[in-house]
C-alpha cells in the first residue's frame, strides 16, 4: 500500500491538478486523504480529491481538457472526474451531501503539501466531510480514525458535535473517539481530554459544587462511561452526586454506584470494664 513510487506519482497528479485549477482562476481546496496528509496525517494517499463549487464544474472540465487531462461527469451527480494518465482526480462539488460553497472554500488555509502551497479545507470542515459520508453503506471507521488522530487539535469539536447531532453514524464515531481518548467529552474546551482529566474535572465538581461538597467519591472513566463509587450520607445525596457528575460530563453515560452509609447501633451492651 505504501509503495513509494505510486504515492509520489499520485502527489505529482495532485500538484498538476492544483496548478490547472489555479491557472483557470477556479476557487478550490484540497480535500480527502491528501488534505489529511497536508494536516499531519500519514502519507498513505490513494486518491486525490478537490472541493470546487458546482457552478465552476464546467469551467474546470474545460481547464483540465486544455491541460491535457480528460474530464468526465459520472452519473453520481456530485463530482467531476479528471484523468492524468492512469491517475484520477475527483473534483467534488457536494461534500458529504452538502454543496461546496464559497464560504467553505474561504475557510480553507494555504498549506504546503509535497513542496507545493495550495488551499486545504479547514480541519473542522474536513472532519465534517468524513462524518457526513458515514452511512449504512460506508460505516468504515478505520480510515477516518487514521485521518482524525493526527489533526485532532486543529478541529472545533463542539462545532462538529453540533453539525452532526442528527447523524447516528457520526455520533457513534464521536463516542468511539471519546472512548479511545482521542477527544474529550462534550463541553471540553477544545483539545483532547484524556479520561483522567475528565475524572479529575468531575471529582472537582463534586467537591466544589454547592449541591454536593462531596470529597470521597471515586470517579473513573472507562470506555466513555463514567463510574461513580463511594458512600454518601443519604439517598438524596447519591442523586445529587449523579446530577453534578452529569453536568460536568454532558453526553456521557453515568454509572452511579454510590451507596448510602448504614448506621448500626453502638455495641453498648458489651461496654464497660
Amino acid at each position: 500500500m505504501s509503495d513509494a513510487a505510486p504515492q509520489a506519482a499520485l502527489l505529482e497528479t495532485m500538484k498538476k491538478a492544483a496548478d490547472v485549477l489555479h491557472r483557470a482562476g477556479i476557487p478550490f481546496a484540497l480535500a480527502g486523504g491528501c488534505a489529511a496528509y497536508a494536516r499531519g496525517g500519514a502519507p498513505s494517499v490513494h486518491d486525490v480529491d478537490f472541493a470546487i463549487r458546482e457552478k465552476d464544474a464546467d469551467a474546470a472540465a474545460q481547464a483540465f481538457a486544455a491541460g491535457g487531462m480528460t474530464a468526465q461527469r459520472p452519473p453520481e451527480g456530485w463530482l467531476l472526474k479528471a484523468f492524468d494518465g492512469e491517475h484520477m482526480v475527483d473534483l467534488i462539488y457536494r461534500l458529504g451531501g452538502e454543496p461546496v460553497t464559497g464560504e467553505l472554500l474561504g475557510r480553507a488555509e494555504e498549506l504546503e503539501v509535497a513542496a507545493c502551497r495550495m488551499p486545504v479545507l479547514s480541519a473542522t470542515d474536513l472532519v465534517l466531510s468524513w462524518l457526513r459520508s458515514l452511512s449504512e453503506h460506508y460505516a468504515d471507521f478505520t480510515v477516518p480514525l487514521s485521518f482524525v488522530r493526527p489533526m485532532r487539535e486543529q478541529v472545533d469539536w463542539d462545532l462538529v458535535r453540533q453539525e452532526t447531532a442528527g447523524l447516528p453514524f457520526a455520533r457513534a464515531f464521536l463516542v468511539l473517539l471519546e472512548g479511545l481518548g482521542v477527544i474529550g467529552a462534550a463541553g471540553t474546551a477544545g483539545g483532547p481530554a484524556s479520561p483522567d482529566y475528565l475524572a479529575g474535572r468531575i471529582e472537582r465538581a463534586l467537591a466544589e459544587d454547592p449541591r454536593t461538597h462531596e470529597l470521597g467519591i471515586c470517579v473513573t472513566v472507562e470506555q466513555g462511561v463514567v463510574y461513580l463509587r463511594g458512600e454518601a450520607a443519604g439517598e438524596r445525596r447519591c442523586q445529587l452526586i449523579e446530577d453534578v457528575a452529569r453536568q460536568a460530563a454532558p453526553g456521557l453515560l453515568i454509572r452511579n454506584e454510590v451507596s448510602v452509609i448504614e448506621v448500626q447501633p453502638p455495641r453498648t451492651q458489651e461496654a464497660g470494664a
Binding site: 461538597h213 470521597g216 450520607a233 443519604g234 445525596r237 448506621v263 447501633p265 455495641r267
Partner: protein, 277 residues
C-alpha cells in the same frame, strides 16, 4: 475508669437528620462523655447546624466537639461554634476543657487540625507563599492544641482533632492523598502531653485503630469507618496498657500509667478488638 464515646463525619443536613439521635437514648449508661470529631455538617451552613444542635443537645452526658473542613465551607465557623455552644456543646479550637467525671478528671484539648502529611512524605514551610501558608496553618493549629493539652490539670488527657495525627488510621485511603488527610504535627502535640487517647475523623475510607510514635492510641471515629452510631473507649485501670511505641511510651509503660484502650466494650485483648467492622 472513664468511658469516652466518640463519632465524627455525620455530615448532617435537612436531608440527613436523625442519623445518631435515636441511638443516643441511654448513652449515659454506657459512656461518660461524647466527643464529636468534626464534619458535623455537609456544607457548613447555620441551617445545618440547627440540625446538628438538635441531634446532640441534652443527651445526658457532656458533648465536646471540634469542627471539620466541611463545617468551614461557608466561612460560618464562628456562627456554627456559637450555635453549638448555645446548645450546650463545647467546641474546642486550640483550647481545652476539664470535665469532672465519676472516674476522674478528663481533660480534652482539640483543634480541627490540618494536612501536610507524615514524616518522610510531608510538606514544609518552604518555597511559595501558598505552600508556606498551608504548612504554617497546620503547625499553628497543632501547636495551639499541644499547649492546651499540656496545660490541662487532669487525670486523663485526650487530643480531639478532625484531621488525623498518624498515617496508621488512613490505611484504606489512597496514599496519594495522605497529606490532605492529616499531619504528624498533631501526633507530636498529643505525645508532648503524653495523651492517653487521640480521636480524629475525616478519613472516611481509613481504619479505626492506630498509635502515635510516642504510643498514644489513635482512633478514627468517622461514621463511615465505625458504621455504628459511636464507639466507646475506656481510659484508666482495667483498660489495656498503652501500645509500646517510642522511648516515651516504653518509659511510661514501665511505670503504672493508668491508660487504657478498649473499644466498644470488645474484650480487652489486643488490637483486634479495634479492627474495623
Amino acid at each position: 475508669m472513664i468511658r469516652v464515646a466518640a463519632v465524627s463525619d455525620v455530615h448532617l443536613g435537612p436531608d440527613v437528620t436523625g442519623t445518631i439521635r435515636p441511638h443516643l437514648a441511654g448513652i449515659a449508661d454506657h459512656a461518660d462523655v461524647l466527643l464529636l470529631a468534626g464534619d458535623l455538617t455537609q456544607h457548613g451552613t447555620t441551617d445545618e447546624t440547627e440540625i446538628v444542635a438538635a441531634e446532640f443537645r441534652d443527651i445526658g452526658v457532656p458533648v465536646v466537639a471540634v469542627l471539620g473542613n466541611h463545617d468551614y465551607q461557608c466561612d460560618s465557623q464562628d456562627a456554627i461554634t456559637r450555635m453549638l455552644q448555645a446548645a450546650g456543646i463545647t467546641v474546642l479550637e486550640g483550647s481545652g476543657i476539664v470535665l469532672g467525671l465519676p472516674g476522674g478528671r478528663l481533660g480534652v484539648a482539640g483543634t480541627k487540625g490540618f494536612g501536610g502529611g507524615f514524616p518522610g512524605r510531608c510538606g514544609s514551610e518552604f518555597g511559595e507563599p501558598e505552600m508556606k501558608a498551608f504548612v504554617r496553618h497546620s503547625r499553628r493549629l497543632a501547636d495551639a492544641m499541644g499547649t492546651a493539652l499540656r496545660d490541662l490539670d487532669a487525670d486523663f488527657r485526650v487530643a480531639l482533632t478532625h484531621y488525623s495525627p498518624v498515617a496508621d488510621t488512613l490505611a484504606g485511603e489512597p496514599p496519594e492523598i495522605y497529606p490532605f488527610l492529616g499531619s504528624y504535627f498533631l501526633a507530636e502535640a498529643a505525645d508532648s502531653a503524653a495523651a492517653e487517647l487521640a480521636v480524629h475523623g475525616h478519613a472516611h475510607a481509613g481504619q479505626e485503630c492506630g498509635v502515635t510514635p510516642g504510643g498514644t492510641p489513635v482512633r478514627n471515629v468517622a461514621l463511615p469507618v465505625l458504621r455504628r452510631a459511636y464507639a466507646v473507649y475506656c481510659l484508666g485501670p482495667g483498660g489495656l496498657p498503652r501500645a509500646s511505641g517510642g522511648a516515651e511510651s516504653r518509659r511510661r509503660s514501665a511505670g503504672s500509667s493508668p491508660l487504657a484502650r478498649t473499644g466498644v466494650g470488645e474484650p480487652s485483648s489486643g488490637n483486634r478488638a479495634f479492627a474495623r467492622r
